[in-house]
């Protein structure tokens, strides 16, 4: 019997990474800006996304959304009210979305082609830990927080706040009723991810939505593949 050491030096999630790379190529070829929205449960992702889809549609953008949840299609039904094509992904117990699930749900989506979209939003499962390890082929990862959560959340979940391109702070309409220290939150975000973009808004009142839209439009223009 011989013992042997075999050097593998390979990524544990290489299958997911390969699928994500293929998706990214497909999104780029279709000219669609894909965003992966991550947050804790209860941050207001769905209302935020509903408002975003509606606002972008009103301005003539072509949008669609995939929404991940462990169970139920409640979110897809809520979002469908925006008029945008929405598809639910049920993970049945898995706490994050994987590239394979995204790819599978893009197939046979009636009336939805990547080349016919400006923006595709992927609402991840509400969880600040596991989704951070899984690339979905997105261009932009947006971490959502709300002012009803702790100011130290970025310090507790550094990977998520490090791997995002934008931190979006929701529910600012509630600030007058809370002892929340917004400056402390911004300071903590800067501790784990210096120079990351941040924006504050209220999905309920619509305050800040225009600034968020401007950010998206600027990114979409910047990400345009040079001819």
């Amino acid at each position: 019997m011989t013992t042997r050491i075999v050097e593998l030096r390979q990524g544990i999630l290489k299958k997911n990474d390969e699928l994500a790379r293929a998706l990214r190529g497909r999104f780029e070829a279709g000219g669609v800006l894909v965003l992966n929205l991550v947050s804790s449960p209860g941050t207001g992702k769905t209302m935020f996304l509903e408002r975003t889809l509606r606002t972008l549609r009103e301005r003539g953008s072509r949008v669609a959304a995939l929404v991940g949840d462990l169970e139920t299609d409640n979110d897809a039904r809520r979002l469908a009210a925006s008029g945008a094509p929405v598809r639910q992904i049920n993970t049945h117990g898995i706490c994050h979305l994987e590239a394979e699930m995204v790819g599978r749900h893009l197939e046979d989506w009636p009336g939805v082609e990547m080349a016919g979209l400006d923006y595709l939003f992927i609402e991840n499962v509400g969880n600040l830990v596991c989704p951070s390890s899984y690339d979905l082929g997105e261009r932009i990862r947006v971490a959502l927080l709300s002012v009803t959560e702790g100011e130290d959340k970025p310090l507790k979940y550094p990977l998520m706040f490090r791997t995002c391109e934008l931190v979006l702070i929701n529910k600012i309409d509630l600030l007058p009723h809370l002892d929340f220290d917004l400056d402390l939150l911004l300071y903590n975000i800067d501790q784990v991810h210096p120079d990351v973009d941040t924006t504050v808004l209220s999905a309920r009142t619509g305050e800040g939505i225009e600034a968020w839209r401007d950010w998206l439009v600027a990114i979409a223009a910047r990400e345009e593949i040079p001819a």
């Binding site: 019997m1 011989t2 013992t3 042997r4 050491i5 075999v6 050097e7 593998l8 030096r9 390979q10 990524g11 544990i12 999630l13 290489k14 299958k15 997911n16 898995i94 706490c95 994050h96 994987e98 830990v129 596991c130 951070s132 390890s133 899984y134 310090l155 979940y157 550094p158 990977l159 998520m160 490090r162 791997t163 903590n188 800067d190 501790q191 784990v192 991810h193 210096p194 120079d195 990351v196």
Partner: protein, 121 residues
């Protein structure tokens, strides 16, 4: 709790690499896991026993090497390990440092296997 998904991927990847060594049993699997990878070693160890059951990895040891987070400082050009995950600053000059060079690893480094004895010996 995505450690089960992660160790399941480890088992799958290792089984694939065993195709070149028919009949081999795995004695040890060595991982490199970044401190920023959001993975808990205890959970990995717990799930590993479940995920490796009934495979050539059953009964093997899982060794996890933690890779500290290090950054490259755009201001002074130095590379170094940060003091804590709550403070992404250059350890030399104290400037904010966004360029993470290490600490997100989630890799299978190597495996130790016992090859099957030649049937005709």
């Amino acid at each position: 709790m995505h450690e089960l998904s992660i160790v399941s991927s480890v088992v799958e990847n290792v089984c694939e690499s065993l195709e070149k060594y028919p009949g081999a049993r795995v004695k040890e699997v060595r991982l490199r896991v970044g401190a920023l990878a959001a993975v808990v070693e205890d959970s990995l160890q717990f799930c590993y026993g479940i995920a490796s059951e009934g495979t050539p990895l059953e009964g093997s040891r899982l060794v996890v090497q933690t890779v500290p987070v290090s950054v490259h400082c755009a201001a002074c050009g130095a590379d170094g390990a940060i003091a804590s995950l709550q403070d992404f600053r250059c350890p030399h000059c104290g400037e904010p440092a966004s360029d993470v060079r290490h600490g997100r690893e989630l890799e299978i480094d190597s495996i130790e296997i016992e090859e099957a004895e030649d049937v005709k010996s």
